[in-house]
Assembly symmetry: C2
Homo-oligomer: 207 residues x 2
DNA sequence: AAAAATTTTTACCATTTGGTAAATCCACGA
DNA sequence: TCGTGGATTTACCAAATGGTAAAAATTTTT
């Protein structure tokens, strides 16, 4: 048998790994890294603690696996921002994709927020190696649009920060948002309309 | 001696309480509630753990004291939003005050963010009793300005959310921001200019 | 200075928590 | 059906953690 080549995971392995990661996402996103316990994760997954540790080397590895998987999903909307598309609608569509993600993946959003809030102790390196290059590239695209007069002359970096901040706010600060605008079933659409209006105006080229 | 009337705290009590709360703010804001330990707080404060517990009933009370004190500071910029002032500059000044707070009180911002991120388990009641009434009141003020044609017809609730999100982002996501725009000494001014531009455009009454 | 009150330290304790060793269970191919 | 390797449980453990009791030290009051 060739060494170093892991054999393909069995059906049970596939299922349990997924179950554990899903349970861990619930617990980590709600309580943060140190606030989460293996017992909680095990209970949520319907498995025993030693059984969890049969599939993952430890608590940190579970957390790291989640963050790694998340990275790709998280950057995807920005990857899709097309330099050859219509500038204004490219950016507004990006806003919409991020807002939809905050609605559809609030646990992931909070997991990421918690990690950054604590100084990115575990995902820091990937911010440099993965996020930074993509960010710089897309900033250059936006700067190009601005220079060409296709959109207003704004600061691309801070524009992206504002998009991240406003969209993720609805997931990360949901506890506060729900207190202040509780029970509105159309909340997502209202937010979408508001952000479209805001960033639409921001990008308009003034005469 | 009259019962229930606490005598005034001594000089030592005043000093140590302040020292402990400052140390706790450092630790809680960096590691979150459960991630923080009394030993860490004690070390940071330069006191022994039992001595900490001589001044506060327990870990939770320290955290709660911090959040309580923070509430006032946190709402202050919004309190100052004046219904009788010039609408556009009132709002832009509010943005500026919030951004300055993110720069000057990043620990407080992260403490608050961490609490909300985890579902506001300890400060939840105060969101209802203190934040909500103020929020509703100021939303009404802004709605009045919009109705009177003094500013664009925007959604006041989501406008405030966007202001909170964009300003606090610089404190709460500082680990990410510093990776992406590292080492710019004028970062705060650049952000200020960007937000002025963005919210200024947002509020302009279109013809 | 002596007494009283407050502050600090020393020495603990019970529980929680991440993790391990080894025995047992079980699915599945020969 | 029986053996085998993967999957699961049982029974632990050491360290960390929030917290306490009581003695000792220090400050304040008389």
């Amino acid at each position: 048998m060739p060494d170093g080549v892991p054999k393909k995971p069995s059906r049970i392995q596939m299922r349990n790994r997924r179950v554990i990661l899903d349970a861990a996402l619930n617990v980590f996103s709600q309580h943060g890294y140190r606030g989460a316990t293996l017992d909680q994760i095990a209970a949520e997954a319907g498995l025993s603690k030693p059984n969890i540790l049969y599939y993952f080397q430890g608590k940190e590895q579970i957390h790291l696996t989640l963050l790694s998987q998340l990275m790709e999903t998280w950057l995807d909307p920005l990857v899709e921002l097309d330099a050859d598309g219509d500038p204004k609608s490219e950016i507004l569509d990006y806003v919409q994709r991020k807002l939809d993600m905050a609605r559809d993946l609030p646990r992931e959003s909070r997991l990421f927020a918690g990690e950054i809030l604590q100084g990115a102790p575990r995902i820091g390196p990937r911010l440099h190696s993965e996020l930074k290059p993509l960010f710089d590239q897309k900033c250059a695209v936006i700067a190009g649009w601005a220079k060409a007069g296709k959109i207003a002359d704004i600061n691309p970096q801070h524009l992206i920060f504002s998009i991240w901040a406003t969209t993720q706010h609805y997931a990360d600060f949901e506890a506060q948002v729900s207190v202040l605008v509780g029970g509105d079933p159309d909340a997502h659409d209202t937010a979408s309309q508001h952000l479209r209006e805001m960033f639409g105006r921001m990008l308009c080229v003034k005469d």
